[in-house]
């Protein structure tokens, strides 16, 4: 039998035949790796996940017509949208504002792509239904309360198209919208309906865009739109970005600190466990030395065991750590979590490091273990 085979036999026998102790060690490594990978993945993924969450706030990039125009062409807006990476674009909603009259009083009517408005303004609360047919509108809550028109009723609006004759049209109020902002005083209708009534289709006063990304990315994007689409001027909604940066920054530091502390403590625990498991083997080291093992033999055997433990424990940890991160991500954000390859490698390396480091004191001490310990009747 050659040396390598005997070496492997020693290492594997030690692992397989001392099952309960090795399970303890394996468990320790696996727990460490789980926390390492899990927390690492969450830390790595937080900005992306939370960034999406911030989109509840609504538009953070607004397109307005360039120069003195009061309206922009929708083709321009579409070209600008195309510059946003599709996975970053939460939504883009064109708005067109007109004035109509109800009971001789002027009302602002906003025409919008309502399906995408639900994405860009997720904070709107609608009592009733969103309009699905051409003649359905949403009524701002203030108008609804003042005029006592509620969801399900209808409202007659007087329309004066540019250069045309005034006419009246009855709309069905499908729901009441409230936002605590300007929308409370608007009548909201599908953009197509407004275009059919007033002509000049394909125009918008403003396009609200909701884009996932930090302020640097957004500034870059705005630059690109400004340069490539002359018909529109991008404007960043500053207070949202500042707040996002502040909250995200704090969250990041928080998770970072927590990760660092948890990791540190877990690693200490794992290390101590490993050391306890190894320390038990002083006598074995003494015996091996007494029957002629050199220090390198002993170091080699311990490292071999450590390598296998770290490999298996690390892989187990990667699996359960991913599960850990995914569970957190799914239940908090309702999305899966990215698993970067470098993190997997890092986890395996860390398991290895902690195993080796933990075996270091007793193994280094192997040089100091007097073989005579075996003769003293312990």
């Amino acid at each position: 039998m050659n040396r390598q085979k005997m070496y492997l036999k020693i290492v594997f026998s030690s692992l397989l035949r001392r099952r309960s102790r090795m399970l303890v060690a394996l468990l320790a490594v696996a727990i460490g790796a789980t926390v390492f990978l899990g927390m690492g993945a969450i830390y790595y993924d937080i900005p992306r996940q939370m960034g999406r969450e911030f989109r509840t706030y609504g538009a953070n990039l607004i397109l307005v017509p360039s120069g003195t125009d009061s309206r922009m062409r929708l083709e321009d807006a579409v070209r600008a949208e195309a510059l946003v990476p599709p996975d970053k674009l939460v939504g883009a909603t064109p708005f067109r504002y007109e004035t109509m009259h109800y009971n001789m009083r002027g009302l602002t009517v906003a025409g919008a792509d309502l399906a995408s408005a639900r994405k860009t303004s997720p904070y709107w609360r609608v009592q009733g239904e969103w309009p699905e047919e051409e003649n359905q509108v949403l009524l701002g809550r203030d108008i609804s309360e003042n005029a006592r028109i509620y969801a399900g009723a209808s409202i007659e609006l007087e329309i004066a198209p540019a250069g045309g004759r005034r006419f009246k049209r009855e709309f069905k109020v499908s729901g009441i919208v409230s936002s605590g902002g300007a929308q409370d005083g608007f009548v909201l209708m599908p953009l197509r309906t407004l275009e059919a009534l007033l002509g000049s289709p394909g125009r918008a006063a403003v396009v609200e865009m909701s884009v996932a990304g930090d302020s640097a990315e957004l500034a870059l994007l705005a630059e690109k739109i400004r340069a490539e689409v002359p018909g529109v001027t991008p404007r960043l909604v500053k207070r949202i970005m500042t707040s996002e940066a502040a909250v995200l920054g704090k969250l990041r530091v928080l998770v970072y600190l927590v990760t660092a502390i948890v990791l540190g403590l877990i690693m200490i625990c794992v290390g101590t466990t490993m050391m306890t498991v190894v320390a038990e083997r002083r006598k074995e080291i003494g015996l091996k030395k007494a029957i002629g093992a050199g220090n390198w033999n002993i170091i080699g055997e311990f490292l071999g065991e450590g390598l296998i433990l770290a490999g298996i424990g690390g892989l187990l940890g990667v699996g359960s750590g991913y599960f850990f991160a995914r569970t957190v991500s799914m239940s908090v954000f309702g999305r899966g979590v990215a698993l970067p390859v470098f993190l997997v490698l890092l986890t395996l390396l860390a398991s290895l490091a902690v195993t080796v480091l933990a075996s270091l004191p007793p193994v280094a001490g192997a040089a100091d273990v007097e073989p005579s310990v075996v003769l003293r009747g312990e």
Partner: protein, 432 residues
């Protein structure tokens, strides 16, 4: 004898038990820190979110129908209505007064600058007004705190500065004005009289919003110019709120639809809708509306953060519990020879287990106690470095920690004890 054995073990096996105690101290300090931070993170994030600005808007009842978004304010039969400036300190006396972080009134009037045809909005507000409350407290509140994201070239104004004004960046650029220039502002007052004032531009602000097109001045000045002494158009309030639930949403639609008990719960919880409701109660003829854009996203972020921290805390607690019980197991296993010897001497399994458990518990309780205080310190480190504020130590944490220490020790010791007790004494003693 039992106690002598325990005493002997504790004092003579110092190193091993010390290691156990240290591991437990580490684990418990982690648990204490995480639990304290988790229980406090809502409040802390909430305060950070205040950088979003106001989440409640207070206006006079009945005026809100024509929004000022496109300047469609005048005419069309909307009677001008106002809130009374003298009543504003009442906002700080409502049930949830402590949760009102800042508020500031606004009075906007159309003005002409340097005789120009185009009107410009002159906005009066509090910058940092000192208020002495009937409760005996005093607060400073105003636009400086509320609009933390504005960029100011120069300094904010002083509330007493009757000849100063701040210019919006767009307005200043259009007119080619800079700090130090003077501007003549003419206002046609509510009573029909025209008043003029020569004001000095103290600084330029950039809000990235429509305020950039106007001028910002102390409230008293604008009231005097417009003849609206003691009156304000609207008030922005920034409040710490609790994420809304079903009850809050039903209450927001109609507080009167709640049962008496539900109403009390709702009123006594810091929902944005109940705070708004209480403000309405405090100010005559007012209408307080949650700004859902702010309130809803705060709610989302707050909920996510709390859930995130909760899960992180739970999972890391589970992991450290496992890691420590694992360590306990390793520690107990090491003592196979001792257990074999005790059995050989005729000790019953129960006695051996009791002795070892007692020893372990002494070590872990000691470690746990040290860990608890270390953890409170750790929580402060986290609080200070992340939020720049102390994390309050919650009493709830102590029983949780106690349960943790006991269960971790038991869970760690029992399986190892079972394995060791199953062994025959000779095997342990002679097993090589």
């Amino acid at each position: 004898m039992f106690f002598r054995m325990i005493f002997g073990a504790v004092t003579r096996q110092k190193r091993k038990l010390l290691m156990m105690a240290c591991a437990m101290a580490l684990g418990i300090s982690l648990a204490t820190a995480m639990l304290n931070v988790m229980l406090d993170v809502g409040d802390k994030i909430n305060r950070t979110l205040r950088t979003y600005g106001a989440n409640i808007m207070v206006e006079p009842r009945g005026v809100a129908i024509l929004s000022d978004l496109y300047g469609v304010r005048e005419g069309d039969g909307v009677a001008d209505k106002f809130l009374l400036e003298a009543e504003l300190p009442k906002i700080k006396t409502i049930f949830w007064a402590f949760n009102i972080v800042d508020f500031t009134p606004y009075l906007d009037v159309p003005a002409s600058a340097d005789g120009s045809e185009n009107t410009v909005t002159l906005l009066g507000t509090w910058f940092s007004r000192h208020l002495d409350l009937p409760t005996g407290e005093s607060v400073n509140t105003g636009v400086i705190n509320l609009k933390s994201w504005w960029e100011i070239k120069g300094n904010w104004l002083d509330d007493g500065d009757e000849s100063g004004v701040m210019a919006g960046s767009v307005f200043a650029a259009q007119r080619g004005l800079k700090a130090g220039d003077s501007v003549r502002v003419a206002v046609t007052g509510h009573d029909g009289r025209k008043r003029e004032a020569a004001l000095t531009i103290r600084s330029i602000y950039h809000a990235a919003d429509k305020e950039d097109e106007g001028l910002l001045a102390p409230l008293a000045l604008v009231q005097r110019l417009s003849g609206l002494e003691g009156k304000v158009r609207r008030v922005e309030v920034s409040a710490l709120t609790t994420p809304e639930n079903d009850l809050a949403r039903r209450a927001a639609q109609n507080p009167r639809s709640l049962s008496r008990h539900e109403w009390e719960v709702w009123y006594c919880t810091a929902y944005v809708s109940s705070i708004a409701y209480q403000i309405e109660e405090a100010l005559t003829d007012s209408r307080a509306k949650p700004v859902l854009q702010v309130a809803a996203s705060e709610e989302a972020i707050l909920q996510k953060t709390q859930l995130l921290m909760l899960l992180l805390t739970l999972l890391s607690l589970v992991c450290s519990a496992l890691a420590i019980s694992n360590l306990v197991t390793a520690n107990v296993m090491e003592r196979g020879t001792e257990i074999g010897l005790l059995k050989a001497l005729g000790a019953t399994d129960g006695r051996i287990s009791l002795a070892i458990l007692t020893e372990m518990l002494i070590a872990t309780i000691l470690g746990g106690t040290i860990g608890y205080f270390a953890g409170i310190g750790l929580a402060q480190v986290i609080g200070q470095s992340v939020f720049g504020a102390a994390v309050s130590a919650k009493g709830l944490v102590i029983p949780l920690i106690a349960v943790l220490v006991f269960s971790v020790t038991l869970v760690g010791s029992l399986p190892a004890l079972r394995i060791l007790l199953r062994l025959r004494p000779t095997e342990v003693l002679h097993g090589g």
